[in-house]
Symmetry: D2
Subunit: 302 residues, 4 copies
C-alpha cells in the first residue's frame, strides 16, 4: 500500500523530452590527425545532425584526445545498436578508440547513499523533482533510519541497511544485492562509511562522492576545527569519482565560500554544507549529461 | 633619440613561438547539417591537423552556428592565401559562411587609449611584457599628458592628443590619422571621451571598452556614490565591444567584488578599479586569441 | 485532525537555546563623542556582559552612528522592561538615540508569501528545520494553491488567498487580516504580486523581497531574455527591504553566478534561482539576528 | 647620481593625511565583563573620540578578547607617550591586557624580499604609488639581480644580496644588517629562499609570506603539475605570517580562481600568480592598517 505521505507529492518528473532523437557520443583515443573529420563524417553519412561538439587534447603533441558530440538522429532508439556496430568497425577500430553512445531521453538510474545529514540528498531530490536533474532515483540507501520521513515524500524508496562494526561484510553484501544491475550511478551524499575495494569492484557502476575541502587540506578527524585553528578564510567542497584511494579520485567539481574569524567551528560546518550540496548537485548533473570523461586521475568536464 | 627611460626595460616580449604553423579558423553561418564534417574534412584534406575545436549553435533548430578551430598546418604562412581561396569556394560558399583565418604567430597590433588613470593600461602592458598578452602595442594615445612617464618605460610610444570641447573634431581626426591602417584593435582603457559614430566608422577595427557595473545599474554621473546610497553589496565591471549605443555593446566579460557598508565611496571606486583591470585584461586576451565571436548584440566566447 | 502528511516530519526546531540571557541592543543616532562609552558603561552598571559589539559611523565627521551590542544579562526576560526604561532615560534621551532591545531566545514570527515557484520558500523552511534560521514560521500565504503539498510536510500552515485582477483589494484585506499583529517579518519568497502602499502601511512589520539582478539591470518583462541578448556573463539576485519604490528598497544582500553563451535563457533562470534562494536565506538570517540596520535608502549589515 | 630612470617617476606617495590626530588602539586579553566599558571610558576621559571600534571574543565563555579602536585625539603625536603610560596603569594592568597604540599618519617602514618573479612586488609598489597602500617601502632586497630595472623606476632602492648554497649564513647576515631596526614589516613577495629560525629571531618585525594553495594541498615540488594531474577546479593563494613552521603560519587572507581541463600547467601558474598578487596586497593592506591580530596559530582580521 502506498502511504499517504508518499502519495502527497508528485513523483520525480524529469524535464519534458520533446526530442527522443537526441544522442551523445563520447570517445577517447590517442590524439592524431583526422579524428574530428572521421567522426563527423561518419555521423553525417549516418543521417545524424551534430548539435553540440566539444573536444580536448591533453597535449599539443602525442596527447590523449577526448570528444563529446551531441547529435540528433531520427529513430535513434531503434537505430542505436546498428550505429554502434558500424561506428566500432569504421571509426573506433582504426583509431584505437574507446566510445560510448547514450540517449538523452533515457535518464540514468541512480541510487543515493546517505547517513544522517540531509542537505545533499534533499538538494538532489528537489532538483530532480523540479526537472533540473534528469535522473531516475530508484532508491536512497542509508545505514541509519533518521532520514526516512524526509526522503519518502519525494516518492523515492528509503532502504535502511544497518551497518555496524560487526556486520560490515554482511551489510555491504546487502547493499550490493540492492544496487548491482539496478543502477547506473551511485551518489554518496554524505555517506560516512568506508567504501571497500570489494564494494567498488562489485557495484559495477561509477560512484560520485562529496567531501569538505580547504586550502590547505586538513587531514584526519575534526577538519573544521583544525581549519578554525589556522584561521582559514575559505571553506570548500570537492566532488570526485571514487577510486581505491580514499578521497583521492578524479575531481569533477569544487567550490569555496568565504569565512572569517567571527565564524565558529559549527558555522564553518554549516557554510561548508551549503557548498557541498551545490558542488555535488553540479557534479551529478554533469555526469548525467555525459559531460565528464575520466582521464587517469583527472577529468575532462565538457 | 631613444631616452634612457625607454631603453631601461626590455621591449614587450610575446610568449615564445615555437610553432609558426598554428592557425585559427573562425566561421559563422546559418546552422544546418554537415558543417562540422565539411570543415574538418576540408582541413584534413589540406594537410592540417585540428588541435582545438569549439562550436556553438544559438538554438536547437534554425539557430546561428559558430565554430573556432585551431589547426596546425606546416608552412601555414605561405599556404594561407591559397587555403583561404579554396575554403571560400569549397566550404564557405555552399554554406553561406563568413570566415576568417588568422596565424597565431602574428600578434595583433593594438593601440590603447587612456585618459588619466593608470590601472587598466599598466595591467595590459605588464601582462604583455610578461608574455601573457600576445599583442604588439604600437602606441598609447591620451587626451592628457599625465601618464607619459609611467608608460614609456614599457618601450611603448605615448602620444598626447589634447582634446577639448573646442577642438573635438580636429582631435578625433588626429587620432584617426594615427590609428587607421596601423592597428587591429583599439582598447579604451578608462578613456573618458565620447566615441563618435564618425570615429567608429573611420577607425576600421574593433574597439573594446571597460566600464564599471553594478546590480542594478546606476545610470549617469557619480555611479559609485549612487551605489553607496543604495547599499550595494557588489561592485563590478563590464568589458564590451563598442557600438553606436554607448556602453551597450556586446559583452565580452564581467566580474564583481564584494563590498559592505564599511567601504566608503572612494573604497568602492578603488575596488571597482581592481575588477576593471582584471576584466579588461581577460577580454583583451580572449580577443587576441580569436576566441570572441560577435553574434548581433551578444558574444560567443570560446 | 492533523493529516498524516503534516505529522510525518518534525515541527520546525530552532537551534537549542542554552542561554535565555542573551540580549541585543541596537541603537542609532547622530554621531558624536562618548556614545560607545555611555552605552557600554550603562550595560556594565546594569550587570550585563558585552559579548559582541559592532559599530559604524557613516562619515568621519557629522555622520550617523549605528551600534549593535550583544550582551548577557542574567534574568534578561524579567529585567528587560526596566532595562529599556532606564536606558531610554539615561542614555537614549541625552544622545537623541533610537534603540531597540531584543531577546535572542524569542524567535521572530515570520510569514512567507509565495506564488508558484518553490525554490526560495523551501530553502527557508529547510534551514529553519535544520536549526539554521531561528524563526517561527507561522504561515505561508499564496495567491495560488500549487505549493500546498510541498509546504505542509514542514508543519507550517499553507493559506491560499486567491488574488485576481478583480478582487485585489479584497484579497489584500484578507492578507492583512491574517498578518497584522501576528508576524514580526514578512518574506516575499518569489511573490509575484504588487505590494501596495496600503498593504505596506497596514502590515505593521518589515518586508524582505528577493529579485533577480544583472549588470546592468534589465528593466521590465523578460529580463533573462534581455540579459541573454546582451551576452551577460553574470546573473545575480538582490534581497532588499520593501518600500514604496518597487524593487528599489535598501539592499541587504546580493550575489551572482557566472554564465556563458552555452547557457540558454531557461538555464539563466535556473542558475538565477540558485542565487535567489542563497541570497534570500542570508538576508533573512541576518534580519532575524538583528544584524541589519536601515540607514535611509541603504543598510548597515553587522 | 640619481639615474634618469629613477627620477622619471614620482616617489611613492601615500594617501593624503588630512588628520594627524587619528590613532589606533589594539588590545587583547582574557575575556571578562567590563572591558569595552573600561577602554571606551578611558578614551572618552582622555578627550579621544572613537571613530571605529571592532571587537571579537573567541568563545562565549572564557575566550580571548580582541579589540581594535580607531580614535581621534587632538595633538595625538605629542600626547601619545602619556596616553600609553596612563592606559597601561589604569586599564591594561587591571585586565592583564596586551596593547599597542599606533598613529595612522606614520606609515610603516616596509622591506620587500623577492627572487625573480615580479607580479607580487609590482602590485605592491603600484598600489603604494597610487595611494592605496600606506607604507614607506625602504628597500627591495633580492637574491637575484633580474628585477632591478623594473623596481627602480618606482624610486625604491633595489639591493642585490646573492645567496648560494655556500654563502647562506653570510647572505642572511647581510640581509639582517640591512633590515634590523630599519623596517617594521618584511614582505616575502615570491621570495624563494628558506627563512631560518635565526633570521626570524633576528629581524625583529613580522614577516608576511604568500604561497600558492589548492584544495586539497599538493605538497612538495611541482604543485601546479600535481594539481593538474588531479584535475583541480580551483587554484588559490594564501598570505600568512611567517613562523618557524614553514608555510604553516597564521593565515591572513586567501582566495581562489576557477580553472578547468583546458588550462595547461603554465596556465594554472599564471592564474595562480594573479590570485597571489591580489591576496598579498590585501593582506599587507590590512596589516598596515593594524587590522590583523594574531591569536596563537590563527588571526583576527578586523
Amino acid at each position: 500500500m502506498t502511504s499517504p505521505t508518499t502519495s502527497s507529492l508528485p513523483a520525480p518528473r524529469p524535464a519534458p523530452r520533446t526530442d527522443a532523437d537526441l544522442g551523445r557520443l563520447l570517445i577517447q583515443c590517442q590524439d592524431g590527425p583526422g579524428i574530428v573529420s572521421a567522426v563527423s563524417g561518419f555521423l553525417s553519412r549516418a543521417g545524424a545532425n551534430i548539435v553540440d561538439l566539444a573536444q580536448h587534447s591533453t597535449a599539443p603533441e602525442g596527447g590523449r584526445f577526448f570528444q563529446r558530440t551531441e547529435f540528433r538522429l531520427p529513430g535513434l532508439s531503434a537505430a542505436r545498436e546498428e550505429l554502434e556496430r558500424t561506428f566500432a568497425a569504421e571509426v573506433a577500430a582504426p583509431f584505437g578508440m574507446e566510445f560510448v553512445v547514450t540517449e538523452a531521453a533515457k535518464p540514468k538510474r541512480v541510487a543515493i547513499l546517505v547517513s544522517k545529514t540531509d542537505h545533499c540528498v534533499l538538494d538532489l531530490l528537489w532538483r530532480n523533482r523540479r526537472g533540473q536533474l534528469d535522473m531516475n532515483v530508484v532508491m536512497v540507501v542509508s545505514n541509519h533510519p533518521d532520514l526516512a520521513d524526509e526522503i519518502r515524500p519525494f516518492g523515492v524508496p528509503y532502504v535502511h541497511v544497518p551497518a555496524t562494526r560487526d556486520n560490515r561484510a554482511e551489510a555491504e553484501q546487502r547493499q550490493l544485492d540492492l544496487l548491482r544491475g539496478n543502477v547506473d550511478l551511485v551518489v554518496l551524499a554524505r555517506y560516512m562509511q568506508i567504501i571497500t575495494p570489494t564494494f567498488l569492484a562489485g557495484v559495477g557502476c561509477p560512484l560520485i562522492n562529496i567531501h569538505h575541502s580547504f586550502l590547505p587540506a586538513f587531514i584526519g578527524a575534526a577538519p573544521y576545527q583544525k581549519a578554525k585553528e589556522r584561521g582559514v578564510k575559505l571553506v570548500g567542497a570537492t566532488a570526485h569519482y571514487v577510486t581505491e584511494d580514499l578521497d583521492e579520485g578524479p575531481i569533477i567539481e569544487q567550490d569555496v565560500v568565504r569565512v572569517d574569524h567571527r565564524h565558529s567551528t559549527p558555522d564553518l560546518a554549516r557554510l561548508g554544507a551549503d557548498v557541498e550540496r551545490a558542488v555535488l548537485s553540479r557534479a551529478v548533473r554533469w555526469h548525467l549529461e555525459d559531460r565528464v570523461a575520466r582521464n587517469g586521475g583527472s577529468t575532462v568536464v565538457f
